[in-house]
Point group: C2
Amino acid sequence: MGCEKMIPGYMGKILKVDLIKRKIESFSLDAKDAKDFIGGSGLGAKFLHEYTDAKINAFDSENALIFMTGPLAATKAFSGDRFEVVTKSPLTNCYAEASCGGQWGGMLKRTGYDGIIITGKSNSPVYLHINNEHVDIVDAGELWGKDTFQTNQILKNNISKDIEIACIGQGGENLVRFAGIHTQDIHSRMAARAGVGAVMGSKKLKAIAVFGDNKPPIFDEEGFQKFWKEYSKKVASTFDAKDMRDNGTVGSLLYCETVGDLPIKNWSMRRFAGAENISGSAVKEILTKKYYCGSCLVGCGRTVNVPDGRFMTNGPVGGMEYETVAMVGSNLLINDIKAVSKINELCNRFGIDTISTGSVLAMAMECHENNLLSTDDLDGIDLKWGDADAVIEILHKIAHREGIGNLLAEGTRRIASEIGSYAAEFAVHVKGLELPAHDPRAKNSLAISYATSNRGACHLSAFGYDFEHLCSSPELGVPEPLDRFETKGKPAYVARMENIMSMCDSLSTCKFMLFCAISLPQLVQELELITGFGLDVGDFLKTGERIFNLKRMYNNKCGISRKDDTLPPRILNLKRGTGADEDQLPPLNIMLEEYYKLRGWNEIGFVSLEKIKELGLERFLK
Amino acid sequence: MGCEKMIPGYMGKILKVDLIKRKIESFSLDAKDAKDFIGGSGLGAKFLHEYTDAKINAFDSENALIFMTGPLAATKAFSGDRFEVVTKSPLTNCYAEASCGGQWGGMLKRTGYDGIIITGKSNSPVYLHINNEHVDIVDAGELWGKDTFQTNQILKNNISKDIEIACIGQGGENLVRFAGIHTQDIHSRMAARAGVGAVMGSKKLKAIAVFGDNKPPIFDEEGFQKFWKEYSKKVASTFDAKDMRDNGTVGSLLYCETVGDLPIKNWSMRRFAGAENISGSAVKEILTKKYYCGSCLVGCGRTVNVPDGRFMTNGPVGGMEYETVAMVGSNLLINDIKAVSKINELCNRFGIDTISTGSVLAMAMECHENNLLSTDDLDGIDLKWGDADAVIEILHKIAHREGIGNLLAEGTRRIASEIGSYAAEFAVHVKGLELPAHDPRAKNSLAISYATSNRGACHLSAFGYDFEHLCSSPELGVPEPLDRFETKGKPAYVARMENIMSMCDSLSTCKFMLFCAISLPQLVQELELITGFGLDVGDFLKTGERIFNLKRMYNNKCGISRKDDTLPPRILNLKRGTGADEDQLPPLNIMLEEYYKLRGWNEIGFVSLEKIKELGLERFLK
């Protein structure tokens, strides 16, 4: 690698694999692209524009499946070893990204590639084996049909314990539209959302096994080491880091229930008597270990073990995130943490998104309750609220597209359209992506961010709900916690947070760092020490704005417009009670109007030509 | 007819025609049904429940096409000769009704039948000939392909000048989903909305020719005559009657433009420089005559003549209503009243609804402007805003489903789904029925009534927009004009008005009477004198509530629920400017919440069992 090509913070090469031609090549990363789009989903979105016509079907051979790390990966920058998967989504028919922690991202970068662009479809199951810069397409006949835990184990047995594996389970193989891509063995870190695993399945790509021992160049090695030393203690010892280490993300469940942020019975109820039974303290009873992603000093991951009973795990398995416990727990009226743990384990094994799965199951239960899906339609399963055994039966069917599972594997939007009648009342999604476990009726900023997030209903695209109510962060421009039911200022708040989070997803780093001493100025400093891009806070935010709009432009090409920037009827219309905050509904349209103006989008939600020029994105207009 | 069977105000018999079996029969009207559902669309909705499974396709042979008069018809009660057509709509896939003035309704009732229920499909074109109680199904081969004016003329020539004819034009024949049923020769009164003409076309029923010289019994003949004498002068001489007689409904166009009620450029603009050119005074320049429907003392109908030029009419033709001028004038940026007159004439000849037609054309123009429909897609027609010649070319194609017309004949909802992408931004409908020419951004009550009207976006289902802002009517419970941008009290106001209007559509009488001395107490009195039902104002409103909910129950069976009670994105989201009332958006969800409670509907918009029992509608649950 000649010095003139070196880009600090990057390996400088992108791997490109065409599975139909079995062609493996690589190309140099352009230094200006690196500065303009950073990495992760920023560069991913750029490549998606270039490699995937917005008009195609997500399962077409032409769809590109893009795995990208960022400049922080493999540098020991705090929680910077994440990777992003970018593709056209089979769930939303528009831009998809899914982010994943664990160790795989850091290991991919150490192979010498910043990312992989996969196009074409193989005729038979294969996996990719990347050993430093050496790449093989290998037959995966024996892996096909195996779950993600089994796939990990077989590949490690066959190749080496030192490899890291990203793979799909039966969900991805069977094109379940909300299948994800799973990593980390039993610890289950997953690029879960928007059906990226189904695209991988459509390409008959079972896994990507990576091993590398390269290191990226760092712009100011000495400065970075100093920075790391100074901040590593701070990161580990902040209140929030300790809280997450002690309680995991599920530690917030009771708070969420208190303020009305928790989904209960498919988003129809305000209080859940069983909340205590699925809270952080309930998880503690089956906890065996904490789990740290690559370069993480927090350790919010859990490992749990249920040694006996009908929800017995076979040894320790990855523990439950808040989103999972809420979506397959309270949202289904399941109040047994062991049952939730089993459902979580199965979703991980099958490689399907727990958020969408929970939403699909809740919709199926409500359709059943309202005679839109009979017990016969459900293959004889009387799918009642709170019935974990019935849920487990259905889960197997979804992952294998058997019987009713073939319909449920389509996601809530398509289920509604297939069942017809008033089933759409029970489909809780935006743009086809099911809502994660935070309720816009509890916090106004969520209404705007769900409506405008590029991949559909996403809580991480703006990630503003905690700063809106619970925390303050002068560094992020929130000196005091905000009034959650105020509308004024919220559009600007959400747009700014979306720009910041676009940067986090491009870096790509864990957003929890923002609570743990690595706030905006530190992130900018960290990036500067690693890359020497010379970006100040203003440039950093502008780059985030560029990336957010680049994704929106892809969506516009897919036909996404203002009509799609909305919320499900249930969230817009249904009050969950009377009095206190129970009758709150999000005043979306008023806020959206202002948001569009701030964004520089035209009246139907297309990025305006002026804004495109200002951000230097003309070439993506096509 | 034995005295024991006589129901004052009614002929007491319903004609039933099965076109596939060619079976003609009749049955006696039940006296309790008459009291509970009155007539018009009230009895029509009852028969629809009984004869048409909500699950069928509107074009299935099983769909019933129901023509109903009310107890006022053929009695000389003020403007009581209207009739209603009730069916399952091919445009909305749910409950449809369309109301029509003219003379046909009064004449139908004089045949001895209060209404007609038509089921089945003929194999070849036929028309019905009803001469008093004698009914024939007659071959209509020579009529098929003829426009409505021609069909009228041929049938009158062949049968008698004294018959009244309801028929379809090429629009209905070709299953244009917004085709109507036309009456009154060149004067063009039409049961226009929701595709009732397409259902008639699907049955290959070209026309219904009626003649009769019977009279319905009247409960208190003497009292009724006295009432009529007392009120006839008042009706004719009220300010509103004189205004409508002088200016027609189009007389309100400039007022509508002033307050932001007028649709301009597919509902995207707030001001129209050409308004003056298509206003009431512009119509006066081509006016030849005023037209009075049966038993009307107002005469708001117009007849116009354009003697020369490229928009020349062939002799006098029915003049333009406000809705028409707005939807095919300002909404298309056409500012030439002669062009509007020609478009109106063609719609009447083809037998297609001018409201939906205008909305479809505006959508096509905006799709063209935004490259979603190329000139090639449009069969070489460069369909630009304001281009009346291009509109006229397209109109022929729609009526005959030729080329692009085959797509446009499907209505805005289906056009959007066919074109995909962001075309739905330009589709301005509720439940598939295109918005009439009143803007919910100008008056909050319209937001609720468009969202909840049983046939989709309808201005007449609540007909509250004038009383909301312009007029007061203590009799209707509006002692002072209301603040149009207030939300408080609006749900109750709309629900009450919907109940009243349900009665008007059942009686079935012209709603303009409410401005012209025949307000609520007089209507109740008139009905009582004719029928002796013994209903007071409270019973009258309760009956209206029963009928409104009976229709909603049919919609619920069709799968209509809260998800469908919404407004198009353009109306919910798009501000038409900044300042004054230009940035007003209707706060629908807040109002809808209260409306549901007042209606006794459950959280997903189904009529609750309690309400169904209260109204005695259990038997329609099925």
